[in-house]
Assembly symmetry: C2
Homo-oligomer: 430 residues x 2
């Protein structure tokens, strides 16, 4: 059974602290193994990729076979039902439209002292997208990772997707075609991250790597960080629902289970002002669980990490939510929009009774790659800014340089950097 | 002697490749030692900080003495010459003004399908700023790291600055007071990063850590990433100057040396269309080097990592610069502004003959924390975005949910996530 907490109980803070700091991921220590794999890929390129793919994915490749042929991709697209192609296209269009509004503007201006200042945003040249094999091989994630890169203007998007035993997820290929991915390789694990970071004979290196993966992929991303950019290290997914009497218990139960079906380590939390709703949702979860094909995942997730928290008022609810900094925050309240300013830390907000998180997972337009494990305290969901970077611009005239020079020289001298001061004074014949 | 390359020489690509991939940092393998230090700080808090500070900084502290008293900070401020206080204030004012323009706007809108979409930006709650001790303890860096955090609206800024043997940099404290740093601790190294990430009895944890440091600090930041956010891992500094006949060789030599005096691993490169300028700058560097107090650093930097590259035209110059993705790019050209669009990858651009990089290091207003080691290919200099994060917003009405539902359900089914589909259909009585 999930935990039932009440903010007005004496031991609430202790229990909430335990919930807040519960470690849901078993940390597998793979960093030495990963360092070894990365070293081999860097030294031996394609040969190492082929060896590791034979060993870990039970698949014999050739250098020419590392990449999918365009014919294979086209065929996968043709083999995908029309209805699904249309859904993917609709989703991609909405995601693209939302992300286009995130493009910042360059600027160049002169300030009061006659100094030219500005900023210029350019896209990253080449990006690698990792798509896990197996259970979590989601076509929707291909769209979510690729759309902001495309909107940013990234020229080359290379995708890595393992195909254990040669098993290919056709819909993932179809989604990649729709999103305009330039290259797709049937390589996974730490070796795929190594290929993207260092390049091989057949695969050109990229500048940034995004996308979720298992412990090997996460450790590899951490190790190549600096050589290339990376996105966040994704952990198990979570949802927090704030609800009051106006909410429908069956709908909320469905949302909690949608989160729980991802993984036994997923977390679903209800925070409510209504003891009756709390009871009703718990009963509904049990009822709906029985009907669920993924009961074997959702059941343990709900029992081990689920929680129902009763609060005195909505201010308490938002306080709890901000302390959790949930990846997904549903506001199952009337007039939910008025509460947006109470949210300080969350990956995404879903407003009102008719916005289940699943709409955002697929087709709402917002990105479903969001900060997990309380990292919304300092991180954002994937967006166009992850694929662009900012160049600052500074320009002085002889007179504005003269105006700024004395203070620049004073600071350079205080830091004992005489050549810094000299590079200013030499221009003024001082 | 620095390298002299010409793009029109047959072996240029080989030589340039070597220059591009030259490893300027000796990588010290400290990750096991750092993991041990972090573990002790996490387990034993203040006691561990005091032990490590005694061991590494030869300084005996008490729990009460970890933080500087307000009196000590005020006294440091009073002991700083007025001229320097004024310079720090002037710099802080200009840096703040420039960074204020970086604050993004929240938005909330309804699209054609009646879906509410938006984004909300909030500041990170608490930030830790690391300031190295010894040679690289720069008051200007205190301003540069703190200003964007303050502009972002960060409520709590905690600073860590080691004081080996009890030696305190008074100007660093004065700069911290001017920038409104809330807490200052005399702790350094990996133990300081551990204290910021995990907290101790005396030091509350933060959500994000920024600032440069030695190999221990860099490794510690890498290891706590995920628990907290971090900024980039800074490497040795570099400048690339693009110049033509219009440039003054003595000025450019001064700029190259200002870079070289930081560190023997710093890198200064001139790319020019003018063979005469190349000769004159090289002669000027030798002449000015002799006069420089930091000749022992600037000399080896210039000899080992410096380079002068002759090109046929400016397009070649910008191509080379984009391949290097330099931290600092000076355009010593007439009408430099017209070339901004040729720059794809750089940390900062300095326009024209009267903008030595040192102006940007101190007082121009732009940030001097910039991406090193070619990371400008995927990273930006420090800015307000490093201290805020984005929450996405999605809201459906009954009718817009109905419009999006079929495609969302189709995608959920394709991903075998039945509870996702159900959380949508249950709201439509499907």
């Amino acid at each position: 059974m999930p935990q039932r907490l009440r903010t007005f109980d004496a031991d609430f803070e202790n229990k909430f602290d335990l919930l807040l700091n519960a470690k849901r991921e078993s940390s597998v220590e793979v960093s030495d193994a990963v360092a070894d794999i990365l070293h081999h890929v860097q030294q031996r390129g394609d040969d190492a990729l082929i060896e590791f793919t034979a060993k870990f994915d039970d698949l014999q490749l050739t250098p020419e076979g590392l990449a999918f042929d365009q014919d294979e991709i086209d065929q996968a697209y043709l083999d995908t039902p029309d209805e699904l192609i249309d859904a993917l296209k609709h989703a991609y269009k909405r995601i693209t439209a939302y992300h286009q509004r995130q493009l910042p503007k360059d600027e160049l201006f002169e300030d009061e002292q006659g100094v030219t200042l500005g900023s210029k945003w350019n896209a990253v040249d080449a990006v690698g997208i990792y798509v896990p094999g197996g259970l979590a091989s989601y076509p929707s994630s291909v769209l979510m990772n690729t759309a902001p890169a495309r909107v940013a203007g990234v020229e080359r998007v290379a995708m890595m997707v393992p195909t254990p035993g040669g098993k290919v997820n056709q819909t993932v290929l179809a989604a990649a075609k729709i999103a305009g991915v330039d290259e797709i390789y049937r390589v996974g694990g730490a070796q795929a991250i190594g290929a993207l970071a260092f390049g091989t004979e057949s695969i050109a290196p990229v500048n940034k790597i995004v996308g979720p993966g298992n412990a090997f992929v996460a450790a590899a991303k951490r190790q190549v960080y600096g050589k290339v950019g990376i996105d966040m290290i994704a952990g198990p997914s979570e949802v927090l629902v704030i609800a009051d009497d106006s909410a429908n218990p069956a709908w909320i139960a469905a949302d909690l289970l949608a989160q729980a079906e991802h993984d036994t380590a997923a977390q679903s939390i209800l925070v409510t002002t209504s003891p009756k709703l709390a009871d009703d949702v718990m009963a509904e979860v049990e009822r709906q669980l029985d009907l669920l094909p993924k009961k074997h995942l959702a059941g343990p997730s709900w029992a081990d990490y689920g929680a129902v928290i009763e609060v005195n008022d909505l201010d308490e609810a938002f306080n709890i939510s901000n302390r959790m900094a949930p990846e997904h925050l549903e506001l199952s309240l009337d007039n939910a929009q008025q509460y947006i300013d109470k949210v300080r830390h969350a990956g995404a907000i879903f407003l009102g009774h008719h916005t289940p998180e699943a709409i955002g997972d697929y087709i709402g337009g917002t990105n479903h790659v969001l900060p997990t494990a309380r990292s919304a305290r300092y991180a954002s969901g994937l967006n166009v800014h992850d694929f662009i970077k900012r160049i600052s611009i500074l320009g002085c005239t002889p007179s504005s340089l003269s105006a700024l020079a004395p203070d620049a020289i004073a600071l350079a001298e205080a830091e004992d950097l005489q050549a810094h001061g000299r590079s200013v004074s030499i221009r003024l014949n001082l």
